[in-house]
């Protein structure tokens, strides 16, 4: 049992810890003690205080709000489980108070009678709203179809219970009409007639809910039946008889959704003007990205030149010069490989290494193959590699085209 407290203390306790209470109300039955204590808005001390006051309870490391607190919130928000028993309690209370009043015509009993009459009306309306919400929620969100069916059946029972209570309330009003008339109390008269209206209205509403429940159950049943049929069809299909034992073909060919008929979504070409706008530029960029089209890749400003860009110049120069080299080569009669090995490059290029010369050989032979005479014979060239070791490299004999066949020197 928690400590003795009064309403004000509970209120201030709840208010002081309102964030925690709200958090726990939103995450019922899923928050562990550690999780809760890791929050910034509660200390271990505060937690102990809440537990001591029975606002929180702890069960196997899981923290929950006191059911009474949850019930209070749910009551106000008209959510939560349907609890028709409240109506029953009120009806019984009403009965008791009527009995007292019949014994001794005291005003205090009349006041209670009024109170419970009002409460019955309120409770019935509230329960029915909850019922409707729960039925919808179950149909839409309950993933397990067996439980879904059971839950819907349960709600059907609860609906029946509420109807029964409405009838009982009605009967009671009828029975005690004489008594109420005797009191000559205008307020009581008003309460009773409004309760009557509420009862009639809610009875209509319940019939609607009943239709909904039946409808939902039927839909689930339909799905189950269709599933059974699907399994049957699958069996037929597995036996290779789908097209002979069923009208599968006719049915499927008659279907009209676009997606199944190969209808492509209509394509419109983008206007050139649009492509010149900023949006068009972005679009081009995205498309280029998607299909890896370099042509469409947005050309941006070049990066800053690196400080050592001069070192890379040699390579760039040699690459660019192949055309001139070729012309010089065509004017003489050495084969291409030897020509390149012996060629005196301009001094500004510095020392052109063996590897670079080989690269040039390959480059020229590939790029200008039309103007070259490939002999398809292998010649050998001796050279020293970086480690001063003697090595041999084989190369294709390539001569200038206009020159007649001539053996390498």
């Amino acid at each position: 049992m928690g400590m003795q407290v009064n309403a004000k203390e509970i209120l201030s306790l709840l208010y002081y810890n309102r964030d925690v209470v709200d958090f726990l109300f939103g995450n019922r039955d899923s928050v562990t003690v550690n999780e809760l204590l890791s929050r910034e808005d509660i200390t271990a001390e505060q937690y102990q205080k809440l537990v001591a006051h029975d606002v929180l309870y702890e069960h196997q490391q899981v923290v929950g709000l006191n059911d009474a607190v949850i019930a209070m919130f749910e009551d106000f928000m008209e959510i939560g489980e349907v609890t028709p028993s409240f109506i029953n309690d009120y009806i019984n209370e009403l009965k008791r108070n009527i009995r007292y009043y019949q014994e001794g015509n005291e005003y205090r009993f009349l006041r209670s009678i009024k109170k419970y009459l009002k409460r019955i009306g309120g409770a019935i309306s509230k329960e029915i709203i909850k019922l409707q919400k729960n039925v919808d929620d179950t149909y839409k969100n309950e993933g397990n179809y067996r439980i879904k069916l059971q839950k819907l059946e349960d709600y059907r029972l609860k609906r029946d219970t509420i109807i029964e209570f409405i009838n009982r309330a009605n009967e009671m009003i009828d029975e005690t009409r004489k008594l109420f008339e005797l009191t000559n109390d205008l307020e009581l008269y008003g309460i009773v007639s409004s309760l009557r209206n509420i009862l009639i209205e809610n009875l209509d509403y319940l019939i609607e809910i009943q239709t909904d429940i039946t409808d939902y159950i039927n839909k689930i049943q339909f799905q189950l039946d269709v599933y059974k049929k699907a399994q049957h069809i699958k069996e037929i299909k597995d036996h290779g008889q789908l097209h002979y034992k069923t009208n599968f073909k006719e049915v499927v060919l008659g279907l009209n959704p676009l997606g199944f008929n190969g209808v492509k979504s209509p394509r419109t070409k983008i206007s050139v003007e649009f492509l010149h706008t900023d949006d068009g530029y972005m679009l081009c960029g995205r498309i280029a990205e998607k299909y890896k089209i370099t042509r469409l890749m947005a050309r941006r400003l070049a990066d800053k030149l690196p400080a050592n860009f001069k070192d890379h110049r040699v390579e760039a120069f040699v690459k660019l010069d192949t055309q001139t080299l070729l012309e010089k080569f065509l004017k003489q009669n050495k084969n291409l490989f030897e020509f390149l090995m012996d060629f005196k490059f301009p001094k500004s290029l510095g020392n052109v290494t063996f590897e670079e010369r080989v690269t040039l050989f390959v480059e020229i032979s590939m790029e200008f193959d039309k103007q070259l005479d490939f002999k398809f014979t292998l010649n050998w060239y001796d050279f020293e590699d970086d480690k001063k070791q003697k090595r041999k490299i084989g190369y294709t004999l390539i001569l200038p085209k206009k020159v007649k066949e001539k053996k390498a020197a």
Binding site: K228, Q231, G262
Partner: protein, 198 residues
Amino acid sequence: MDIKLPKQTHDIFAIMARGHFISSNGTKDGMNRLYDIINEPENFENLQNYFGVIKYRIERGNNFFYFSKVDEINSIVEKKLETFEKYIDIIDLFASMDNKITIGSRFRTGALAEECNANVRLKQKLQKIPLYRSETLHNKVREICDLMSRDSFLEREDEASETYKVLDSYAYLLDVINAIAIYEEGGTTEGTAGIIYN
């Protein structure tokens, strides 16, 4: 012709012209909102007239919409039949699960694969569905889910856990199944209505 159109007309067209369904319980790209917009009687009529000009028709199902084309030519008969044969395989698998996957169901691909792995019957079913890649059961399940999401019957709710939700448009497939007539002597299936072999 001056028609007052909802401002989401473009979005609606973009989805449905691709051959996709708009379901009331879909959440991606505000699908449920689009559904509500089409479902408004005034909007529905206006959109119907508007799209009618380019020969598209909005078709209404139970909690979903889709496009059909007026005077379309049935050009891809083979492919259409093939697609639905695959759907039959998939629906049969969903129907045979212990916890049947149907409209509104949520499931994780991992859990589905696990169940198939534990149950020989399901395992066989899954393995026999003709798919492109997928050596493992889990990959097969993934591929099925991809396929069904592409056709807008499923929606991936959570990337990390690979949780999928079955959309209302799935009812369309069930309607198709329901429409297929089986020619057989004697109504042997009548008595067992509601019970599914598992």
